[in-house]
């Protein structure tokens, strides 16, 4: 029973709140440019409209292009099931840890790159080669960061990690977690193709990375791909806020009210992080493609430095 409740809450929160994060980021960007901007719920309208439209698939493409949207969407949701939005509902199963989360995302990304190559359009090939470069550069820092935290919490599973972080009180006043936190912000920006790495709002051929791979999709498939990308972004933000900013230990009430309060706090944290991401996006310019290895090296070294500080400070 508790497993079903957990899964239902995870899926409802992640699928319904994911487009809102994009809406908030776009709204903040518009407000800083003194524009009114699209309404906060614009992405929901877009998705509903796209779900109603018919799908056009290129007739030179193979089955890969047809199954990829479903794989991308389902891998995003499957990874989301392993990252709890609230630590107050403990499911009975404990299979799956942070390594599996990274691997599931890698599976979805693999099919996305394959499908971009499938139609043999030039932009798709360009986008997928860039995506392969960026993802292989940023993956070490994800794993080193999460392993460092796992080393301190003595588990690689996410529930024990989050429960351990709740017991530390305020993790951000700690030399190891502050470096891991900064690294994780760079990882979020890179993984969700935000501005210093990739521009999500552009359709200029030379600078596209993620958008270049989505050019071939239409209708329902495009909606699934965009929703999958949004869910992936929310899953990474969830990892960040629930590991580094745990607030569940301060909730006084118990029972269903505690879960509701916890979900409310979670949404507030997500809104704050998306505003910070939007501010970063406003204040930076897109890096040259060949400068991205510098950013990736910096994030990897920051995570390694956190790992080293664990030994230096010994706690």
């Amino acid at each position: 029973m508790i497993n079903v409740v957990y899964a239902v809450i995870q899926i409802i929160v992640l699928v319904l709140a994911a487009p809102l994060v994009n809406g908030i980021i776009k709204k903040v960007k518009a407000l800083t440019q003194k524009r009114k901007g699209a309404p906060l719920l614009q992405m929901y309208y877009d998705l509903i409209k796209m779900f109603k439209k018919t799908v056009v698939v290129s007739d030179v493409s193979s089955w890969i292009l047809k199954v990829t949207p479903y794989i991308v969407f389902s891998t995003a949701v499957a990874a989301g099931l392993l990252v709890p939005v609230t630590t107050l509902i403990q499911p009975g199963w404990f299979t799956g840890d942070i390594i599996l989360v990274v691997a599931i995302f890698a599976l979805g990304r693999f099919f996305m790159m394959l499908a971009a190559l499938d139609t043999a359009s030039t932009f798709g090939g360009m986008g997928s080669s860039r995506e392969a470069m960026i993802s292989s550069l940023i993956e070490p820092s994800i794993l080193v960061t999460l392993f460092t935290i796992g080393l301190i919490a003595k588990s690689t599973s996410l529930f024990p990690i989050m429960n351990f972080m709740k017991s530390t009180g305020t993790p951000l006043i700690h030399p190891v977690y502050i470096t891991a936190f900064i690294t994780f912000f760079i990882i979020i920006i890179t993984e969700t193709s935000r501005i210093p790495v990739d521009d999500p709002s552009t359709h200029l051929e030379l600078t596209m990375v993620h958008e270049a791979m989505l050019l071939e999709y239409s209708g329902r498939n495009l909606a699934l791909m965009e929703l999958g990308a949004a869910i992936k972004q929310l899953v990474f933000i969830t990892l960040l806020v629930n590991i580094f900013i745990p607030l569940d230990q301060f909730i006084g009430v118990t029972g269903i009210a505690a879960v509701a309060v916890s979900l409310g706090l979670y949404l507030i944290k997500v809104v704050c992080v998306s505003i910070i991401i939007a501010v970063i996006e406003v204040n930076t310019v897109k890096l040259r493609l060949f400068s991205i290895p510098n950013l990736a090296a910096l994030s990897f070294i920051l995570s390694f430095l956190g790992f080293l500080q664990y030994f230096v400070f010994g706690r």
Partner: protein, 218 residues
């Protein structure tokens, strides 16, 4: 309080990594300013603590002097020098940035292994922040030898000085007041002389690339 000082020592080290990853002179100066502000914050925290416990306000004066000299005056001077020097060299460093950053990381590992095993008066609790501060000195040296432009080398010199100051502050809970002041006056005169030197180098060689200094050979 000790938690905040731990965090500041890590953040000061991080700022030197970010300094290493910067390409342009303006961002060098900006990162140096942030680093100096964090050092002033650390001095302020320790100063308030010592005022509260022992009634001494030396470190608070040092904090004010750091803000006046390192956060406000020196960056402004460097910006003025930078504005007067025209850009000729596009590529500023000898190695590419990922290799430089990985080199910095090796410096931190090296410092950790050489200091954490040391015995003596600073054995025990003090070792932790001293590892970060001593690696800051070495990273400043590495920064200095990895840049070609003269302004980058001045920033490297300032980072070395920051490292020495932070090491002394974390290891001894604040040096004698007169020593700190002497260090700052030395630093101030050195930076002013170096600024004038950069003008002269630029005037003589039409560039601040220090490789061109070899032209002086007969």
């Amino acid at each position: 309080m000790s938690d905040y000082l731990d965090i500041l020592s890590v953040l000061i080290l991080l700022s030197s990594f970010i300094l290493m990853a910067n390409k342009r002179t303006k961002s060098h100066i900006r990162t140096f300013r942030i680093q100096a502000a964090m050092i002033a914050l650390a001095a302020g925290i320790m100063g308030i603590d010592s005022l509260y416990k022992e009634g001494q306000f030396d470190l608070l004066v040092v904090c004010a002097v750091i803000i006046a000299i390192k956060v406000i005056y020196i960056p402004r001077l460097l910006k003025k020098v930078d504005a007067n020097v025209e850009y000729k060299v596009e590529k500023d460093f000898f190695l590419n940035i990922p290799i430089l950053i990985i080199g910095c990381c090796f410096i931190v590992v090296f410092t950790y292994f050489s200091i954490s095993t040391s015995e003596g008066i600073n054995a025990g609790t003090l070792n932790m922040r001293v590892v970060n501060s001593v690696s800051l000195i070495l990273i400043g040296l590495f920064f200095m030898i990895s840049r070609k432009k003269a302004i980058g080398q001045i920033v490297g010199f300032l980072v070395i000085e920051n490292g020495i100051f932070v090491t002394a502050m974390f290891a001894t809970q604040g040096m004698p007041f007169i020593v700190d002041m002497g260090m700052f006056i030395d630093l101030l005169s050195a930076v002013m002389i170096l600024g004038v030197m950069v003008f002269k180098i630029n005037e003589k060689f039409k560039s601040v690339d220090i490789n061109k200094l070899k032209n002086l050979r007969g």
